[in-house]
């Protein structure tokens, strides 16, 4: 089932080389797969056989970094560790999976990865200002720019964020970065039930304390509500106090206030849903992570139905729900591959009734068909196809990993 990863790797060192390699590949009719460090290679449907990998690993140069402008232009092959260190030196950060050190910036953007503080700072699409991209025929082009506000021309950079490399390769991006907040704190509250934890999350959302994350955690331990606050000492102390008080009123069973290292540890844990819900320390058991997105008001319904389905099937389950964003992640693990697969399918089906449910991680047996991973093509599928046709008419980058087999 596992398709071979080709030996041929096209690894340009700059945009010109990228253009040249792509032109060469195109003239030979090669099918390509875009890759950075390959840490997210198991996301999406199983790729069709491709002829070569187009690697961005050598495209990691920092083009411009103006701390005073809060903008950074950098090659997409830069490792996340290097990126975060670079910004930290100037008291700044990129609040996208800021705790994660594996993988490249390009991979983070191409998969539109979810980070723990997205609620406070925005999703990957919200922080991308401009990009230089390479299309399959070797056309290298910039779109938008490196200033924080810009409506000149089509927003190609955002179009490529989350496109899994199927429209073209991101070579370089300009990002909006932020000053590192003076304090980053958190709180963990325990609840008797998931419903209580969700209700507490709702109470916090009704308040005006601007938490940077509100996560409902379930499965591995008693249901918990995790809250995060960033800002000045006065801001985080006051907001946490009020938010915790609101959340406590929903029959809270326990409270931990987390500062400094403890807060950082919690954020590290929640930053990458896949790592969080399929912990490696529990051995290499096969696992599935489902991501649900939709209206916040529908999240609770899906979550409780999904947890019940897992319980019925005797499959171990962990969940991390972000009600304020209308997002939910469910991790399923178990040695019985059939039960695991059946539960995963049930959870996906439940999620797709009202909302979208995709597989973030799954054994290959579940990743064979794009529709299994992504669900049926959405209502605007024809527009997506048209867009792919415009940028990659030969479908060089459409390796079948993405929605509708793109």
């Amino acid at each position: 089932m596992n398709r071979a990863v080709p030996d041929v790797v096209l690894e340009p060192g700059d945009a010109d080389e990228a253009a040249e390699l792509l032109r060469g590949a195109a003239s030979n009719g090669l099918a390509l797969l875009v890759r950075g460090h390959g840490t997210r290679a198991s996301q999406g449907a199983l790729p069709r056989d491709v002829d070569a990998v187009f690697s961005t690993a050598r495209l990691g140069a920092v083009e411009t970094y103006e701390p005073g402008d809060l903008t950074l232009t950098v090659g997409c092959g830069i490792g996340l560790a290097a990126l975060h260190d670079l910004l930290a030196e100037r008291g700044q950060w990129l609040p996208l999976q800021a705790e994660r050190r594996r993988g490249t910036l390009g991979g983070l953007l191409a998969t539109a990865a979810d980070g723990v503080v997205d609620l406070g700072y925005g999703r990957p699409r919200d922080l991308v200002l401009g990009a230089r991209v390479a299309l399959a025929d070797g056309l290298v082009a910039r779109a938008r720019g490196r200033v924080v506000k810009n409506v000149a021309g089509y927003d190609v950079p955002r179009l490529l964020v989350g496109s899994f490399g199927t429209l073209g390769a991101l070579l370089e991006v300009s990002l909006r970065v932020a000053p590192r907040p003076a304090r980053r704190t958190a709180a963990l509250l325990g609840y008797a039930s998931v419903a209580d934890a969700l209700l507490a999350a709702e109470r916090v959302r009704e308040g005006r304390d601007e938490p940077v994350f509100v996560d409902v955690l379930a499965g591995a331990c008693e249901p918990q509500l995790a809250l995060g606050f960033d800002g000045s000492e006065e801001r985080v102390a006051g907001c946490r106090r009020r938010a915790v008080a609101a959340a406590e009123r929903v029959g809270c069973t326990g409270l931990m206030l987390l500062d400094d290292d403890a807060s950082a540890e919690l954020r590290r844990r929640l930053d990458d849903p896949v790592a969080h819900l399929l912990p490696e320390d529990e051995g290499a058991r096969p696992g599935v992570v489902v991501r649900w997105s939709g209206r916040p008001s529908l999240l609770g319904g899906w979550l409780s139905a999904a947890l019940a389905a897992a319980e019925r099937a005797g499959v171990a389950v962990r969940a991390d729900a972000r009600p304020a964003l209308g997002l939910g992640f469910l991790g399923l693990t178990g040695d019985d591959a059939d039960a695991l697969e059946a539960t995963a399918r049930e959870v996906l089906t439940l999620g797709r009734r009202r909302g979208a449910a995709v597989l973030l991680a799954a054994p290959d047996t579940l990743r064979g068909e794009p529709e299994d991973v992504w669900g049926p093509p959405p209502a605007d599928w024809s527009l997506m196809e048209r867009t792919a046709q415009a940028l990659d008419p030969q479908r060089v980058f459409s390796c079948g990993r993405f929605v509708g087999g793109l």
Binding site: N150, A152, A178, A182, R295, V403
Partner: protein
Amino acid sequence: MTATPDALLASLARRLGQDRVLTDPSELVVYEADGSTMHDVTPRAVVFPRGTEEVAAVVQACLANGVAFVARGAGTGLSGGAMALDGGIVVALNRMDRILGIDVEDRRATVEPGVRNLAVSEAAARHGLFYAPDPSSQAVCTLGGNVAHNSGGPHTLKHGVTVNHVLGVQLVTPWGEVVRVGGPDRPGYDLLALLTGAEGTLGIVTEVEVALRRIPEGVRTLLASFPDVDRASAAVSAIIGAGIVPAALEMMDDVVVGALEAAFGFAFPSDAGALLLVESDGPEPGLDREAADVAEVCRAHGALDVRSADTAAERAEVWTARKKAFGALGRVARHYYTQDGVIPRTRLPDMLRHVREVAARHGLRVANVFHAGDGNLHPCILFDEDDAATRAKVLEAGAEILRHCVELGGSLTGEHGVGVEKREAMALLFSESDLELMRRLSDAWDPAGLCNPGKVLPMGAGCVELSPRARQAAL
């Protein structure tokens, strides 16, 4: 342009009724320009569809007859984006102005494209919610136009622009199909990002779903006056440098201050060469401290005076003045030409100096009112004589200012859009390859080339189909 009933107009009149199809040249003249009067083209007709189906019918009729079409809301655009070029018709959506629903629990509103920006916040206010993007024309401009231009506003510094708040749209495609384009969270390409800011060249939005936010608990509004724009610019950099991200950070120069005094009777310090309007919002805890920090930074950078607007009424007054600043310039000049260049924030002093030099060289006056926190400038070139020679001079000065924005690593437009106005200037900012990429998208989405043609991408042929006055100016 005569009102001879050609096949298209006849079919539109049949479909919509004669009273919703304007063809009288003396009426069409009103639709020759939007908020910018530098360019004007009289449309072939103006139609007023009601609802998605009728918009689709209009688009299909246009396709069948090979006639171009362009959507128009309140006509407040500043780049000529709503002008019907190529003998096209205007599809007026201002009567499609129903708020279809406000979902309090999920914090979103669904509206027709003709709903005014401010009307959304007004309707949401009783639920403690608001729609964050707040262009200065928010009392007038419509959501459809906001989506087309990815409109910003003073508070986008903290709260983001339109694209950060659109959750879904109903689109009539350039080939006349009706498609619901899903939110950024449904699996697939981020088509909303492509459509938002595409200036109506990739279809007509007939319904918009937008995110609403909780109204911030507290607001602190400071008005600091400085002897000159250089010192005010330095204060802007210092505020951001101190790690403060205000909700809004706006600058106005002395020309604007004079106009505002005339328009609203404000008493600003008489020796103020620049005003900085700084607003912080968010939870009460720490908010006073943030405002105090801002005030301190301003004083340290030579502020003559720092005042705070403490009551809601005072804040409303300050913001009314700021948002009507463009219009108030009508008190000091008969005409103005607004630029919308963006530069990296740290280059503000350099850029403002350049603007002054350009104006002096051309013997023109310039007023500056802009989003300093974003580095989004709005130099307004003022002029009184509306003759060809003056217009040519004004356009040239504008072009010089834009060139310098690009040289400093900035952009031609932060929120007003390229439209027809900056179409040819796109070649300053983008290489042929860059434009080729955009053309591929445009060609794929608008194969007939009838969906708001002549906007965004350069034609390479100089001024096409502009008004006689603009044509003269270009000669």
